[in-house]
C-alpha cells in the first residue's frame, strides 16, 4: 500500500487531457470552417471565371464564322427593314452567299445552340451542318438596321459574356 502511494506521487503525467482535446478540436474546426468556406467561394469564383472565358472565346469564334460569310454575301433576305423603315430583328438570318447559295444561321432555343443550314434554290430539303456553330447560347439577335439592307447587327449572350458586332455587306 505504501509503495503504491509512493508510485502515484512520483509518476509524472503524460499525454493530453479531454479539455485540451476539445479546445484543440474547437480551434481546428474554427480554422477549418474559415478555410473550407474560402475554398468553396474560390471554387465558385473559378467556375464563373472559366465560364466567362469560355463564353468569350465562343462568341469570338461564332462571330468570326458568321461575319466571314455575311461580309461577302450578295444580299440579306431576312431580316430586312420593316415597311415603316423601322429596324427589324430576329433570331435567324437568311442571305444569299457569295457563291449563290441561300444560307441560314438560326437559333435553336430548346438546345441553346446556333446552327447553320444551306437552303436549296429549287426544290429539296435544307442541308444542315452536322455540328452547331455555338453551344450554350442564351440569346442571339440579328438586326437589319440600314435602309439599303447592307448592314446586319449581331448581339449574342453566351455564359454571361456579351458580343456586339455589325457586318457591312461589301458586295451589296
Amino acid at each position: 500500500m505504501f509503495m503504491y502511494q509512493l508510485f502515484k506521487k512520483t509518476k509524472k503525467r503524460s499525454g493530453i487531457t479531454l479539455v485540451e482535446i476539445m479546445v484543440g478540436s474547437a480551434i481546428l474546426a474554427f480554422i477549418g470552417g474559415i478555410v473550407g468556406h474560402w475554398f468553396f467561394m474560390q471554387r465558385q469564383y473559378q467556375r464563373r471565371i472559366f465560364e466567362i472565358s469560355d463564353g468569350q472565346q465562343s462568341i469570338r469564334q461564332t462571330s468570326w464564322a458568321m461575319m466571314q460569310e455575311l461580309r461577302t454575301a450578295r444580299s440579306v433576305l431576312f431580316p430586312r427593314l420593316n415597311p415603316d423603315n423601322s429596324i427589324h430583328s430576329d433570331s435567324k438570318v437568311v442571305f444569299k452567299s457569295f457563291s449563290g447559295d441561300v444560307i441560314c444561321y438560326y437559333y435553336n432555343a430548346s438546345q441553346r445552340e446556333i446552327r447553320r443550314c444551306k437552303i436549296p434554290n429549287g426544290p429539296g430539303a435544307p442541308e444542315f451542318d452536322p455540328e452547331p456553330i455555338a453551344k450554350d447560347v442564351s440569346q442571339i439577335i440579328f438586326t437589319a438596321s440600314d435602309d439599303g439592307n447592307r448592314l446586319i447587327d449581331i448581339f449574342m449572350e453566351i455564359k454571361g459574356s456579351f458580343g456586339l458586332e455589325s457586318v457591312y455587306l461589301m458586295n451589296e
Binding site: K12, Q42, Y45, Q46, I87, L164
Partner: protein, 160 residues
C-alpha cells in the same frame, strides 16, 4: 523524465501560421480571375468599336460628326445614336426596344456597372479635287474599380 514530441499548443500555432501564409498565396487565383474580367471588357470594347466602324460605312458622309469625351453611354443611349434603338422583333416601330433596365436587364447591368461609353474624333481630309475622306477615331471608355480604361480604333470613311 524529459518531454518529447509536440504539444497541442505548438500544433495549433503551426497550423494557424500555415493557413495565414497559405491564404495570401492562393490570392494569385483571384488575380488570374481579374485578368479574365479585364480581357472580357477589352474584347467587348473592341466589338463595340467594330460595330460603330461598320455603321459608319452606311451613314451619310455629312452625318459623321464629332462626339466629344466623356462620350455617350451605351445604356439608355439616346435615339439616333449607334445604340438606340437596339432591336425590334415586331413588324413596326411600335415594338422598338432599347438598352434599358426594362428591355435588356442583364446587358444593361453589365454596361452600367462598367459605364461603357463611346466618343468619336472626326477629322476631314480633302484632296482638292472634290474627294474627301473622314478620319474617325472611335474611343470606347469604361471604368474598372475606379480605373479609367480606353480602347481605340481608327477608320477612314470616303465620300463614295
Amino acid at each position: 523524465m524529459k518531454k518529447s514530441g509536440f504539444s497541442l499548443l505548438e500544433i495549433v500555432i503551426a497550423i494557424s501560421l500555415a493557413v495565414t501564409i497559405f491564404i495570401p498565396a492562393m490570392n494569385m487565383f483571384s488575380t488570374a480571375g481579374q485578368a479574365v474580367y479585364k480581357t472580357r471588357n477589352f474584347s467587348f470594347a473592341n466589338s463595340v468599336a467594330r460595330r460603330i466602324s461598320q455603321r459608319l460605312m452606311v451613314m451619310p458622309f455629312e452625318d459623321i460628326e464629332e462626339v466629344p469625351l466623356p462620350g455617350v453611354a451605351l445604356c439608355d443611349a439616346p435615339d439616333g445614336s449607334f445604340f438606340g434603338p437596339f432591336f425590334n422583333n415586331t413588324a413596326s416601330s411600335a415594338g422598338l426596344r432599347r438598352i434599358t433596365q426594362v428591355d435588356m436587364p442583364e446587358f444593361y447591368d453589365y454596361l452600367e456597372r462598367y459605364n461603357f461609353r463611346y466618343s468619336l474624333s472626326v477629322s476631314n481630309v480633302s484632296f482638292g479635287d472634290g474627294d474627301e475622306i473622314k478620319s474617325v477615331g472611335i474611343l470606347i471608355t469604361w471604368n474598372e474599380t475606379d480605373k479609367a480604361m480606353m480602347s481605340r480604333l481608327y477608320v477612314y470613311v470616303p465620300t463614295l
